[in-house]
Assembly symmetry: C2
Homo-oligomer: 265 residues x 2
């Protein structure tokens, strides 16, 4: 059987979702005459597959989840929107007169966010970009992008990269999801197998697929608030607040302190 090609699956999906919603650009040709929603397909390394409509990446604030609206209200100063996607949040910040930069590793996502009016974009990884001399006051990770912490090994490296881009007193506003409320046996078994292998329970190994393309496999972390506290301890960041009004989803706010914490016994 042929395998999908490795490529910008996310970007192609966002391009098609944008074309379907706006009528701008070539629209997806699949499906014959029948209009079909653009679907994001996510594969997990245990063989699980999940599809969900991609249209929400383009939603206007009125259609957002309430925690996203509250997260935006926490942004101040210069904002770096990490995993900007189709620009949903960054465009709204820009509309409010806030200086915002949208970062993504997907060329298609950057292209669409620019077409939609986002002025300042960066096509790069956080690690590479952290060598830039620019500094930010807020790092925004919406759409479950607290998951970019990836793992217990990766989280401090990622948080250090953000620290390298942080002005004094900068904050990190990140939306996460606690995976452990589920009773779904597939997920419960996955969490358990992860722990047996020394991984965090909600450390997902995923890839996106769209049409003929797939991303490489990557880790994406769903963690509990208690786990997050453990991951942040010993970094340049301090957990300031957790908004858990809509569990299992939460918005975490962390603050950057240039003084590394010291541990007193």
């Amino acid at each position: 059987m042929g395998n999908p090609a490795i490529g910008d699956a996310f970007g192609e999906m966002i391009r098609d979702a944008y074309a379907v919603r706006t009528g701008i650009g070539p629209r997806p040709l699949a499906g014959g005459r029948l209009p079909r929603p653009v679907i994001e397909v996510i594969e997990r390394d245990d063989g699980l597959i999940n599809g969900a409509p991609a249209d929400h990446y383009l939603d206007e604030p009125g259609a957002w989840q309430p925690w996203d609206r509250r997260a935006l209200a926490l942004c101040r100063g210069r904002v770096l929107d990490i995993g900007v996607g189709a620009g949903r949040a960054a465009i709204e910040l820009q509309r409010r007169g806030i200086a915002v930069t949208g970062l993504d590793t997907s060329a298609g996502a950057i292209e669409v966010s620019r077409k939609r009016g986002l002025r300042d974009t960066v096509l790069n990884t956080v690690d590479e970009f952290s060598r830039a001399s620019v500094r930010y006051d807020t790092f925004l990770l919406l759409g479950n992008n607290l998951g970019l912490l990836e793992s217990a090994e990766r989280a401090p490296v990622f948080l250090a990269a953000l620290a390298g881009l942080a002005n004094p007193g900068a904050r990190l506003v990140a939306q996460g999801a606690d995976p452990y409320g589920t009773r779904d046996p597939l997920h419960v078994a996955y969490h358990e197998r992860n722990r047996e292998r020394g991984r965090l329970g909600g450390q997902l190994r995923l890839r996106l697929r769209y049409r003929e393309l797939a991303t490489d496999w990557f880790d994406y972390l769903n963690c509990s608030v208690a786990e997050l506290e453990g991951l942040v301890a010993g970094t340049a960041w301090r957990l300031k607040s957790i908004d858990e009004r809509e569990r299992p989803y939460y918005v975490a706010v962390m603050e950057y302190s240039s003084n590394r914490p010291t541990h007193h016994p």
Copy 2:
């Protein structure tokens, strides 16, 4: 990477789609608190993947495509609905007082169609069932199920199996799709590669995936009307009419004649 388990992916999907639409039975647990539509994922053997909402399998006649409504009007006598799915068409025929049997190879699909009120169901392949002594006046293949012809090799075998279940003068009402109108380079290249390998251009090698399950790989034929004519020639069936009002979709009506056609030079 873990592979999906082989199983009744279609049936599990139909069960979940039914639970989501009706609130009856356990609803899919994935997606946390957010309601998510049930998505059918189809993989093609070149690595292409496609997702589409599964809810249409449960649509009431008012929401159907017009060709489906016209196809139902062509049913007469005892009807065998092949690939009955969630029972959409068969339940409507039953409502109209028509004697209808729903056949499917998916246990989940049969279970849901029965829950929805379909009284006469068969969990079997057409080949196995063709040994039964029961006879039908109409064979109904909706939802692109002309695709069950599979290939040039398989089509006459499938049509012979239906002939074995056919009363004199029985008809076959089948919805197909001409694949050759597309300009999508992925599909054009697939058709070409098929022809190079001696297959019909629109002979798709597919499998369904749903959550942790996948079906085995199977052939599914999208053919033009001209190709269909070629496939039917020499069988016990004669092509009587083609309704092409909504190209590329069409409804073919074939008639069974117990006298095998003879070829005069």
